[in-house]
């Protein structure tokens, strides 16, 4: 029994080495808070930040309504601007269908259900759309396409939807990101698209939602 407990301790110690990179990075870089700023300066800083965020949100909303590229004010589309991704079109076309269930917020999403699901969020709402659980074959087809799309280059496209693949064991990936250990999160993380999902991946999701 003592030997078994030793093995368990060793296993636990080793498995601590498998926690998220983000947590390890946070622990390495975290600094204790400095002594508090004078109250007046703190209040002024908060007001300035609130104002900046409010103005920024208003500007972003206006640009989104006008369909402008959020990263290039006043810049007309060129032949080099990435075209609207097809996955966007597939998900927008699903908006009025019953091919998914909805959750009112990310907090309601169970990332450890044991089910692999496609999860997406339209840009104009906090609701999450969740597909049915994928079959083993669908999981294999879908995950084989993660990271295989064309790079977006310098400019990340404006997307109508954020999309994640929830792996059911706490891991979350996105078809808009390159495949790497660093791009695998443990929540429905925000991101800037690094690549456009491949045609095969878009077809796969389209069939899942059909």
């Amino acid at each position: 029994m003592k030997h078994t407990k030793t093995e368990k301790i060793t296993y636990l110690f080793r498995e601590i080495g498998a926690i998220d990179d983000r947590l390890i990075h946070e622990a390495a870089t975290w600094q204790p808070r400095r002594s508090a700023m004078p109250r007046v300066l703190l209040v002024a800083a908060c007001l300035a930040l609130s104002l900046a965020l409010t103005v920024g949100a208003f500007v972003m909303a206006s640009r989104r309504d006008k369909g402008e590229d959020a990263g290039a004010v006043g810049t007309p589309p060129t032949s080099e601007t990435p075209a609207s991704p097809d996955l966007d079109a597939v998900l927008l076309s699903q908006r009025e269908t019953a091919s998914y269930t909805t959750l009112s917020s990310a907090e309601e999403m169970d990332l450890f259900s044991g089910k692999v699901q496609v999860v997406w969020q339209y840009a104009d709402t906090d609701e999450l759309c969740v597909s049915r659980a994928l079959s083993a074959g669908e999981v294999k087809d879908l995950t084989s396409q993660i990271g295989k799309g064309a790079s977006v280059g310098e400019s990340s496209p404006t997307l109508s939807c954020k999309v994640w693949i929830v792996m059911g064991d706490g891991r979350v990936v996105s078809p808009y990101l390159k495949s790497s250990a660093g791009n695998c999160g443990s929540d429905l993380f925000d991101y800037n698209a690094e690549l456009l999902p491949s045609e095969d991946l878009v077809s796969c999701i389209s069939e899942i939602l059909a």
Binding site: K8, L12, I19, R22, A27
Partner: protein
Amino acid sequence: MEDNKIVDLYWARSERAIRESDVKYGRMLKSLSYSLLNSREDAEECVNDTYLDAWNAMPEARPTYLGAFLSKITRRISIDRFRTDHRVKRGGMGFVMEELSECIPSGDDVVAQYENGRLANALNRFLYALPTEKRVMFIRRYFYSQSIDEVARGMGMTASKVKVTLYRLREALRGELEEQELL
């Protein structure tokens, strides 16, 4: 140099990647390995092996947090070295593992479940649910194997507060592992 630029060097198969990694993270990695092995020579060897592993892992891997990526490799290599050498020295890994024994649920009927990834997932869930300060403390003690004094200094608090907090965290982790019937 920024992490993504160093990673670009790995992908470009430039040996400068190793030099830049060592400049940015060498000291941290050696400190991590030394805290586990209590031997400067072994720590240096483990760090050199880390760079080789990282070189072989890229391209393919493209870590967002290069420091964390390298730290994981160093830690794994150091643990393997510790087990291979069968040396149990005072300090370092021995003390840390002794503390972690408190997290192992007792009872003859506990069945060890070595399911791949389940324990790591449980640890992630446990850590993400903690306030930042406690999470950082836990990881500095049990991932980086820093001494209590080092943790206390780095966090700007007393050693006794660190000890008490870590004790409570271990109890909480033990409860989690019992509830999920892990270990």
